[in-house]
Amino acid sequence: MTSSRNTWILHVAILTAGVLAPFLFPGYTTQIALLWMMILFALTWDIVGGQMGYNSLGNIFFFGAGMYISATVQVGMFTDVGAYTSARGGEQLVLGYGDYFISMFAGMGLAAVGCVILAIIIGLVVFGLRGPYFAIGTLGIALSARELFSTWEWVGGGSGIAMPVYPGLPDEKSLVNYTILFVLAIATFIFVRWLYSTRFGLAINAIRDDEEKAEAMGLHTMRHKVVAWSVSAFFLGMSGAVFGNMTGFVEPMEVAFPTITFGIFMVVMSLLGGKGTLWGPVIGATVFHVIKEVTWTYMLGWQWVALGVLIVVNVVFFQQGILGWVQEKWPEKFGIVVEDMSAEGEEEAA
């Protein structure tokens, strides 16, 4: 009973913090908005990577694809995309409030739907790959999308698309984006929490533990894998759409498909917090993002080296993650009886 009451208090505290944060720290609205996005990243990566055991290095593909879908929709509703991009941002779209929000939400919706369709098509191909081939294959997809979009002239090629200008003041814009990302992250968390409590959650855990056996027990593994990936793609696509509007400029290398930054961050954050757990990605994302934001600018170019070292140390010496370590240390706090400890240990090792 007490633990469920504690969970309630925790949830309410997080929600209150999320609502109050932009008013308490108005100078950091964008950074905190990015924190919510990072939590979303880690949660969606963990569906396939942690819970299902398929370690993808290319989830960032859906982020970029969603961004491009929403960008073309938002621009395409008012003008010809090809002509607009060939002007190289010479004249940006200026819209009223009504048009702006209608096009933005239409863009987000279509980004989500489009990414789910892409996830189904690509999933049917890549989920035939196992282990390292899957990781390399998904990395290849993210990298080839990058190359593809930077040569595709209709969407602006390497010079990208300028997004419509927000009709109001910059502060208002960052508050709007903050709210959307906050709501998205919370929605992702609630959805994922529900998903893990259903039979579907058990099924993808079974795929992680032993795919052959799961299949032999009559589980339609391919369908489960594709659906799990589609869930990731759905939320990632929407977050990509919002991020495109936040930066105001969509470009393939650094903004849409940042394989080496966001694409790797999501893996690192999940691992840091403890993959295959509900709260692990949230904790990992928060710790990682806060440390990164505080120290990043003081490291004078060494931050990337530090990131690489963090990955190596995390993967090689601390793979159970923060939450996994805490669970090992104080199993009784998690309602784990001591007899179950070996089973718990096995699960973490997997």
């Binding site: 890549v126 390292p132 997809i141 080839s144 190359e147 080496i260 790797i264 080296v305 190596v312």
Partner: protein
């Protein structure tokens, strides 16, 4: 695009140029891919830092060049340096990865790759560099085809190096131990082979081979701190397409990849050269997947 194809039929000599350039570059890809196949086959580590080792070797050669040492003479020095680097890396990190699951090795070596490329960027800056070897160029077919002498020399060095490594694997005591370990690590251990040392040696040898390949890259092509990723992907394409322990396959695929890249770079434009490599990776993986699917159906 069609203009370029026309150009090839009008001036067939250009094909000679593309073929030769492709073979010269492909020979270097073969070296790096052979190193990957070695590490993959012997210790089951998927080394994503392969391309970074290549670039690192290239920078060592370039650096020694600025100190007045000719790149070709720098080759053995870089070989030794990278061997040491590989050994240290093994003792520090890879040792703990060998027995773990596949993703651990992939992500750990990815982290190493990140550290190496960023460290090179900090040390040498993001400019594109070439080690100057000071050889001339030949023109054939009225200047339609130009070939740098250094490319021939590099090709020769590639063959020499590959022959050396293969002989080493066949004849020497350590080479035999490596092959025994890759066949059955437990049995090798029972027979008194120090597998731990074999692993360290294999990883170090891979780093050294890559470093030597990097020296050649720095002489006939360009190096830049972030150019390692395509090299890694190439190695994976070649090894995945050829299969493990298939040296002739690796050689053919490597040379073929070199030629294919030159052609796509010429026909489609140089901005597609990277896309070709990545595209080929996806194609190779899909083909592999279909093979597995058929295999699974047969089993069913």
């Amino acid at each position: 695009m069609l203009n370029n194809i026309d150009l090839l039929t009008i001036a067939p000599a250009l094909n000679v140029q593309l073929l030769l350039d492709g073979l010269f570059i492909g020979a270097i890809f073969v070296l790096a891919a052979y190193g990957l196949a070695l590490v993959w086959g012997v210790m089951n580590v998927k080394n994503l830092a392969q391309g970074e080792f290549v670039i690192m070797g290239g920078y060592f050669a370039w650096h020694l060049g600025t100190l007045g040492l000719h790149p070709i003479l720098a080759l053995p020095v870089v070989f030794a340096l990278m061997f040491g680097f590989g050994w240290v890396l093994y003792e520090a990190i890879i040792k703990y990865v060998v027995t773990r699951d596949l993703f651990t090795s992939l992500l750990a070596t990815f982290g190493i790759a990140l550290v190496v490329q960023q460290a090179l960027n900090l040390a040498y800056g993001p400019e594109v560099r070439t080690a100057d070897s000071g050889f001339g160029t030949w023109s054939l077919f009225d200047g339609l085809v130009t070939i740098a002498e250094i490319k021939f020399i590099s090709f020769g060095l590639c063959i020499l190096l590959a022959a050396g490594v293969v002989t080493f694997m066949k004849k020497s005591r350590m080479g035999q131990a490596i092959r025994a370990t890759s066949q059955d690590a437990r049995a090798a251990k029972v027979m008194g082979i120090d597998t731990e040392r074999v692993y360290a040696f294999t990883y170090a040898l891979n780093a050294a081979i890559c470093g030597a390949a990097g020296v050649l890259v720095s002489m006939i092509w360009v190096i830049q701190p972030f150019y390692g990723v395509p090299h890694s992907i190439r190695s994976f394409v070649i090894v995945t397409a050829a299969g493990l322990g298939n040296l002739p396959g690796v050689i053919v695929t490597g040379l073929g990849l070199g030629v294919a890249e030159q052609y796509s770079g010429f026909v489609l434009g140089s901005e597609y050269q990277q896309a070709t490599v990545v595209g080929l990776l996806v194609v190779v993986l899909v083909v592999r997947m279909l093979q597995y699917a058929r295999h699974r159906q047969v089993v069913q």
